[in-house]
Symmetry: D2
Subunit: 140 residues, 4 copies
């Protein structure tokens, strides 16, 4: 059993709307921050920026789906659990459970494709990435 | 046949990431801007802000799902077609097709529930809202 | 006397914080949107994106200063008047007055330098830009 | 000599524009995050959100001024040093030095006024706040 990867987000005043909860459009932003942090944690500090600029690998999103279960507020840190739930030939799907103080606030799935960054052309992920990702894939 | 409602978005430099296309997390933001604009267009200028503050009606999101078909850039305006695709007892689903220069860039569905804003408690939409929305519902 | 250039911004629910006014950090964002729109209006549709990608001209900011006079809300469109207030050898300063319903909400000055984009090295603006900008410079 | 307060920001891909550096309009956002974090650190976890909702104290900004010295990128964490540089009768000014890998990226000053939040009316800060802030004020 692997330790879950959890990315902590400091939700602030500026993330909230007049209903005094985080604005819905901030939540996909938080989710993407958590996915980028997953890459950084598993690639020795390299996130999307380094993958694109240093290795010419892009991972654009083709799909995202999110269910919002409870409001997100600045009262607690937002703990985003992220894991790869499917690794295809040229794609990767991440799943996410985001909690505050133990309560699930949202969950989601996010699918990206691997591309040659400067050609925006689909490719298989390099072997070293596949070797890092494959053992971490779990469906739930 | 009704005229489609289309909200125009000016995509700029600041919306783009180092891949020189709009950052994925900006796209749900654009989508929500378009849904808010739909309310403004159909409620005589009132969007979420006025619904919440003046009428104590909130419409928090419970679900969103988006498919990204083509990159969004500042080369063209982003034309977001929005329509209500389902009106439930206490919920409303919007569908969206966003195009640039005739090409579909993304599509999505977004479900909100009607709440008494200051209680964050589910309610049926008031009759006047239902009368405005109901004739505009179409499944595709 | 020249017609002022005014960029209109649709302030929404998502721009507002729990105090029910636009979050302070959104206002520099709006200001930059207005400056980019100034370029688009005066360069035949080209903003920062086209300047950088098509002409290898960057205009990074070296300074900004803003005074906030009145809250910004979604009750009115935000009308941002923008003009170049100084054109130096390698820099340009923009001034701004942003109003809602006739009331000044904020004012500011913003200084950018012209650079060769792919070298991030200071340069004089090309003659065609200088010719467009110079007649529009006014100190107040 | 007091320890400086430094707020660490994780700059990511999504903060960057096509010039591959953090978009200028993100930098005031980062600065405000750092000021909010300063409050949290000095008020036992309470930031703007708790001040406003739990204590009816607002601190809206009346001025900000920033000088940008070097580009901000995702290559290093952004270390924002924040301190109160002036405490007036009804206002507070914060100063900031933001560095990456030892290089100053931007500096700025930010002035807020204390208000009774639900009246948006100027007030003196409560004695307990003044006692916390006063010993930390330094001009540089």
């Amino acid at each position: 059993m692997l330790d879950p990867f959890i990315h902590e987000i400091r939700v602030t005043w500026g993330d909230c709307d007049p209903a005094r909860i985080a604005y819905t459009a901030r939540l996909p932003w938080f989710a993407l921050d958590a996915i980028n942090a997953w890459w950084e944690a598993h690639l020795g500090g390299d996130g999307w920026y380094q993958l694109e600029l240093d290795r010419n690998i892009g991972t654009p999103f083709v799909h995202l789906s999110m269910d919002f279960r409870a409001p997100v507020t600045p009262r607690h840190r937002l703990m985003c659990e992220v894991w790869p739930s499917r690794l295809g030939e040229t794609s990767i799907t991440f799943s996410m459970l985001a909690r505050q103080d133990g309560t699930v606030c949202f969950e989601g799935t996010f699918t990206c494709v691997f591309v040659i960054a400067d050609q925006f052309k689909s490719q298989r992920p390099p072997a070293d990435l596949r070797e890092i990702i494959a053992p971490l894939v779990r469906s739930v």
